[in-house]
Point group: C4
Chain length 332, copies 4
């Protein structure tokens, strides 16, 4: 009992005053999802770490969430968007120069409509990127004004693009690989629920801390509600993380999984929610990773195979391919 209430003191107050119900409610754990998500078909955390929640009536700009989207979209998407933007802006300015009369741009040899258009287009590109060869140049007040404005637009727009480019490149992300399946394995003289992680990159993570919660449906006084339990871990923090790490929740008397069968897990729509915090050593930045295992992603009676190769002298080799490898193991 003491274990659970100690955890509670950190995340909530423990002072129900004169009301027993208030005290009881204060002791109920909640990760922030609430008790209403009681549809057994959905998972709370998707495999990519996002949440399985839809939002209605979100204002346009909040939904677009421009910066966040530009930073987190894939590289091909981002580069395609930059190319599209470059093309569009140049087409727009080319149109303006053409409209104003291409005779205001000196140096265009090909005076057909087609020639004037593409020369205007490339003049625009040379202005936007500030390359400015000068074989075509603005010859009148109005085109000089437009091209001065365009070079300003170019400087500002490319400031954003290049900022985003480097922001994407240098963004601190925990490249944690979680084993595809958690296991229910024998552990010392009891059993334990375990999962295994590795650092996919060779940059160092330090002060790695993991929090595991169990979410499941329970019936209280006839009402189905989603409940949350923090799972005690044999070790929840390590200073260094150079190798693999198996996180172990021993199924003791105090565990909410005590006496649980695979069928119980399935029936209660159990999901194990994982939050990892660490510090990336390169820039001393905090990084996070999220993951979840649903009841059908837990192997019963299996244990993980070792990932170390001790065949060479004086050096330890970690075989990343063995992350998901398990072997059957009789439960205690």
């Amino acid at each position: 009992m003491k274990a659970r209430s100690t955890t509670l003191t950190q995340s909530g107050s423990l002072h129900g005053g004169d009301s027993k119900l208030v005290l009881q409610e204060e002791q109920r754990q909640d990760l922030g999802f609430g008790t209403k998500l009681n549809d057994p078909l959905s998972r709370l955390i998707n495999k990519d770490g996002s949440f399985n929640i839809q939002r209605a009536n979100e204002p346009f700009w909040d939904r677009v969430n421009l910066y966040n989207r530009l930073i987190t979209m894939s590289w091909p998407q981002f580069l395609a968007l930059v190319g599209l933007f470059y093309l569009t802006v140049n087409l727009l300015f080319a149109g303006i120069y053409l409209l104003l009369g291409a005779e205001n741009l000196k140096g265009i040899a090909d005076l057909t409509l087609y020639g004037r258009f593409w020369n205007s287009f490339f003049f625009s590109a040379q202005t936007l990127t500030t390359v400015g060869y000068g074989h075509i140049y603005p010859n009148s007040f109005i085109t000089s004004t437009i091209s001065s404005f365009e070079s300003l637009v170019g400087l500002l727009a490319f400031a954003l693009v290049t900022g985003l480019l480097y922001g994407r490149f240098s963004r601190p992300v925990a490249h944690i690989r979680f084993a595809k399946q958690a296991v229910f394995a024998p552990y010392l003289d009891v059993n334990a629920w375990m999962f295994r992680i590795i650092n996919a990159r060779s940059n160092q993570l330090i002060d790695v801390e993991v929090e595991v919660s169990l979410s499941r449906l329970e019936v209280h006084k006839g009402v189905k509600q989603r409940r949350y339990y923090t799972l005690n871990l044999e070790r929840k923090k390590v200073t260094f993380f150079p190798t693999n790490w198996t996180l172990v929740h021993p199924i003791t008397d105090e565990s909410p999984l005590h006496g649980c069968t695979p069928e119980d897990l399935a029936e209660s729509d159990a999901e194990f929610l994982i939050l990892l915090r660490a510090i990336d050593d390169t820039f001393s930045q905090t990084v996070h990773a999220r993951c979840s295992y649903r009841y059908n992603e837990v192997l019963w009676g299996h244990k993980y195979q070792p990932m170390f190769d001790g065949s060479k002298q004086g050096v330890v080799t970690l075989d990343l391919n063995l992350l998901d490898a398990t072997t059957p193991a009789a439960l205690n």
Copy 2:
């Protein structure tokens, strides 16, 4: 009693030594506003999160606070300022080139004063942005010197502008929407003061923590003073924040709101001060939000409507439009 003193240990020392008055003063809570703000007409925290304090005799540069202002001003203001800066610098350099004699700039066809001026102006723009077409170019030592200097100025100035542009774009801000009105609603077997928040953007906030204080005027030994109380919350921290969150202060015996009527709140100029801290998951940055509810922004005997739409299978939809929606509810 224990609740209040536990909170105190974190923000101050508890060792009054031999003086009872010192001990008592140490236990008084203060958010940093002091006890002198006892004018019932003012609010402490404005709705935009700023403080309702004026400053006199602030030195010029401290008052201007350039960087802070450039980062927090609105986008139209910022872009207008950039445009104005571009125009002004070019006008300035155009004036210099004109003064030095536009014959020092080769390539100007229109030799009227007007023609020399605008050609000088656009030459300046082409130099400042480093686009440098070259159809106009400096033809003498003095204009070469000026234009070399101008291109250096341009590089440095645009470094600041583009840095600011990206800094504004990537600045970590908690886009928290607070319900327009707090409520005084029934809660389990007691009543509670509540307010509701949502994350306006779809980026993830984690480790969200909320601190609520009550500020009100009290008369101690005939002197009106402003006092502060930290309000105990049923839950003050959540790990994830994908949906809405109703923060609940149960009115138990220990609450400074115990036995309070709407009239009491109004008379004591009560204001609920809220500070939210969270971690934005995209860049693992800490973000803050502030808000306050004055006594006339609390609805008595209302509760919030649920924001979830459970009509679709396997997916949960949060209707952001319902944030402010309340229904009457009889108090206990």
Copy 3:
């Protein structure tokens, strides 16, 4: 006694094992200066927050500490350095072009040595800044190579310069103004050592925390040593910091200043060391400020004047000019 040992648990371990001397040494406080700095003529922390320590035999690059120096030097120094760098690099490349023969640069009209030199110089400037008008251009393999290299150098060098420029501009600094003199004033039924601070800028600081230590020379068993004491404050942390803040160390029985006279302070070369930590709200960055008061910067029997102006209704005005203002006050 309990107060002091509680503080110690945070900064050191309390387990001396079987040795009483080890236990005693573990309980001695030390800020990191050590006990050897026992020259009464020196101060530990200078008024600008730096430390009064000289370093001998530091390797050249460590002593130069380029990045740190470029970020913290004054703006005029920085801009002069940038100008000097621009000039030097252009002189260097101008020399190279001249040496290679200015006939390799086409477009130079003035073929005197002087003319060739300044044309080479400005061609270099136009290349370094990538403005590239093109009225002078490299006409041979060798000058083309040099100018290609110079434009690369320009891009890289200006990347550093502009990065530094913005880094200087956006660097998080706590603009805390400390009152020129601390005071020894009556406080409730005892006396207290106090000092006062304000936030010089209008950007918001939150979670402001102050740590005050007393450093003084003491004679233990005939050996003069510097000792350190953390001073208990009536309040050492505030959530918001919109106004002024007077930090108060009450002189109770437990205070190391109990029974102290101005002469005692002078004799023991007393210095009050202050470290302030806060979070700047604009970018949610942690900021620090350091300061110290020596024994001769403490006014005995004075108290600070209030800084508030309550003459206007509904608004509170803080007069920053009154920060240092004190009035005599009889000590208890």
Copy 4:
């Protein structure tokens, strides 16, 4: 006993439930290396702070770890890479222009193959850096397209390069110099294991915290395993770090080194692992340093020489050359 379990509460849970073995395992310390690294020939932490672990079957991009490598490689390597990149991209585009026919580039005087090639090459360089003199310019639709694309590539590529350049320059690193050898020296009435550090740079580090662990091989029930012990320090945190700092682990009854001989250390392949955390004051960034001393890097019966020079009045001089200096000292 109390010391060790207090430390454990911070890094793990203490609730073994009904299983004594689980409880015992929870109390075992582990830094994240695991118990399997029991080859006495290897060290865990290399002298540069990296880990002595090899990784097999790492996917290509994870192994390359581009950003991390570009940030941490040496300056000559980085600059060589930038030069190589510049050369390669220009060669590539020069090839394309040549293939398309150099007659599409106007302004090339030397029409030999060699002349056309190097003119294409330098045109490419002028486009990539956006210097764009314009004496050579694209004269057809196809070369205009290619050069528009090249200037876009140039802007994006140099955005990365310059971002990396400044990122490398401004990267927060703790320039801590560790004494070459740790010592086993007399300390008060016992002995102590000590090592000494200085801040190699003059920028200020504050809140410096050090964690020292002992790793050694032990035989438990016939199985050789690597075990870890946190070593209690006389002082593990200092607020300021302006001078040198000798970290002291007193060998009391509770120390895992109690009664240890140099031979014991060698036989058990002992390694002292050190992690230092601090805050760099310039940008208020957290920095880390790692180091380790193996059993053969510990001097028995030596103590460190003082590094202070007190010969000048009113100023304290720290002689960095004396960091490694020791003198023999008889052990207690």
